[in-house]
């Protein structure tokens, strides 16, 4: 069980997604490996990275062009990854949850990403540290079936 964190830093571009995905899945699968658990890691990571590319780096006025991901185990039964970007301050957790009972006509296109992240993870936290946004997502080890 790795206890120290492991880190990957790549350019903030859509074509970095695949490398980040392979990196985090490799670490998470050392912790727990099942189709359901892998899916949760895969999906939350895609949603958060797309968010960073769409919002934190949407404005050229914000400096920074990299994304850092660290994987860590704060406790033996908890796996977390932290996405750090150096763009504009953006806390996705402040967004209101979408109304998932609306009809097709009223339902806005978009806004579901963070909702899915909340539903699929066990703990989420955001902090603005100096000039960076740090979003941590944690998962409890699934109970053995």
């Amino acid at each position: 069980m790795p206890s120290s964190s492991e880190t990957m830093i790549l350019p903030a571009r859509k074509d970095s997604l695949e490398q980040f995905r392979a990196f985090v899945l490799e670490k998470s699968q050392l912790f727990s490996h099942s189709p359901g658990f892998d899916y949760k890691i895969d999906l939350t990571l895609e949603e958060l990275l797309i968010n960073v590319l769409s919002y934190a780096y949407a404005d050229d006025a914000c400096s920074g062009n990299k994304i850092m991901i660290e994987c860590h185990n704060p406790e033996p039964d908890i796996f977390c990854y932290t996405v750090t970007d150096y763009g504009c301050a953006f806390n996705p957790l402040e967004k209101d949850a979408p109304d998932t009972t609306q009809s097709i006509d009223d339902r806005p296109i978009g806004g579901l990403g963070i909702h899915l992240v909340r539903q699929m993870s066990d703990h989420l936290s955001y902090e603005r540290v100096q000039q960076s946004n740090r979003l941590s997502v944690c998962f409890r080890r699934p109970a053995a079936v």
Partner: protein, 111 residues
Amino acid sequence: MKVDAQKKENAVLIIASGRLDATTASDFETECSKWISGGEKNMAVDLGGLEYISSAGLRSILSTGKKIKAQGGAIHFCKLAGMVKEVFDISGFASIFPVFDSQEEALAQLK
């Protein structure tokens, strides 16, 4: 991601498999839009071979659904399984769109 389409009597049947994510969602939407622009009103979508869907995939589905509705048609889904079904459920899509167990049922309800 693979998208196949077959023209049926009352509708077009779309069969999507693989990953419907931020990279591939536009392929799915483009294929569906092509049929809608061609005058197809009804669509049945088989997601039985879909391994993964993210919010980008859901967005392409909602956008397709809105276009079909605007033309007075309907879109049905079928064969959702595993985590894809769970994502449909927690996003509320399972209550927006009719979902069936088989292609036959999804198509039969489109008249």
